[in-house]
């Protein structure tokens, strides 16, 4: 197995998990600063336990699926997943939809929690918000780790990348106690979208029995190709500035 494959799996899992962890952190911070850390951390902790159970359940099942079928199935899902990320990143880069704003998401979540402040179950509802936020973002992380790792037995490398990203975001959140609004989320989504789509195309091709030229290095070539295509599309889609009036 080439270092390109290991590096690509680790890098894709790290960057994708970083984006998801930033979104989860915003929700946990909103609950923690509005309702207190007990409901926030218990909700997040329960979600992590549920995710661990999901991984424990899915892990052994993956070993039962023939590798060709696994590569094809995971590849198809990755293509759909990656194209979805890439589409959103291109539309945001072209200015056709607004950029994701962590400060705004934090304010929205805090406002929703404030509206429930009079409710007797406010702490429980806050915990539920943290649980749901971490679980939903965490399911995406689990899928990404399985998807980029399962095709070549790289789940260990992908897990290291994902765990490092989650630990980094948690540490940053602990230090600054604010949403990570300065993270260039769309640029990250752009890179992750191209890498996940590249992995999806590669696995699906392998599942069909295609001997990719260059072997595993084809993943990087496909990622580069998709990145160039995405950059060209975002430039083409950007609304044209009106020509300055002649003086």
């Amino acid at each position: 197995m080439s270092s390109a494959t290991i590096g690509s799996a680790l890098g894709a899992a790290f960057l994708a998990s970083f984006v998801e962890a930033v979104e989860a952190l915003t929700i946990v911070l909103a609950v923690g600063l509005s309702r207190g850390w007990r409901p926030a951390l218990s909700g997040a902790g329960l979600a992590l336990l549920a995710l661990a159970a999901l991984v424990a359940l899915l892990g052994p099942l993956l070993g039962l699926i023939p590798i060709g079928l696994l590569q094809y199935a995971v590849g198809v899902l990755l293509i759909l997943f990656g194209l979805r990320w890439l589409r959103k990143a291109i539309l945001r880069a072209a200015g056709l939809i607004p950029l994701h704003d962590e400060e705004r998401a934090f304010a929205h979540e805090t406002q929703s929690l404030a509206q429930q402040a009079a409710d007797k179950r406010a702490d429980f509802l806050g915990g539920l918000v943290a649980f749901k936020g971490v679980l939903l973002e965490g399911v995406e992380v689990v899928f990404i780790v399985i998807a980029v790792g399962a095709g070549r037995g790289l789940i260990g490398a992908a897990s290291i990348g994902a765990a490092a990203a989650c630990a980094l975001v948690a540490a940053l959140g602990l230090i600054i106690h604010r949403p990570l609004a300065r993270v260039p989320e769309n640029a990250l989504k752009f890179v992750v979208g191209t890498m996940l789509t590249a992995f999806g195309l590669f696995w699906t091709g392998e599942g069909l029995g295609a001997p990719w030229p260059g072997g595993d290095w084809a993943i990087l070539a496909l990622a580069l190709l998709m990145a160039l295509f995405a950059l060209a599309m975002s430039a083409l889609l950007r609304p044209q500035q009106p020509a300055p009036a002649a003086s």
Binding site: V76, L80, F81, R84, G205, L225, F229
Partner: protein, 71 residues
């Protein structure tokens, strides 16, 4: 029941944002798979077709989104 359908919606939402893009990409994958499995095209050509088809599906979805965004 509503919690189950909400969870299912979230799960589908992981892969489907623009349904036209998901449908077109699924169609491309299905055509390439059939053509390859029936031996109509060699697997490598099928894989190249997959790359091209997915790029075309994404471009079509983006152009559609731009039309929709125009005032």
């Amino acid at each position: 029941m509503s919690a189950l359908s909400a969870a299912l919606r979230e799960l589908v939402g992981l892969f489907v944002d623009d349904s036209a893009l998901a449908l077109l990409a699924a169609l491309v994958i299905a055509i390439v798979t059939l053509a390859t499995k029936l031996g109509l095209v060699p697997p490598l050509w099928g894989a190249f077709g997959l790359v091209l088809g997915c790029a075309v599906a994404l471009a079509a979805s983006l152009v559609g989104a731009r039309r929709g965004a125009r005032p």
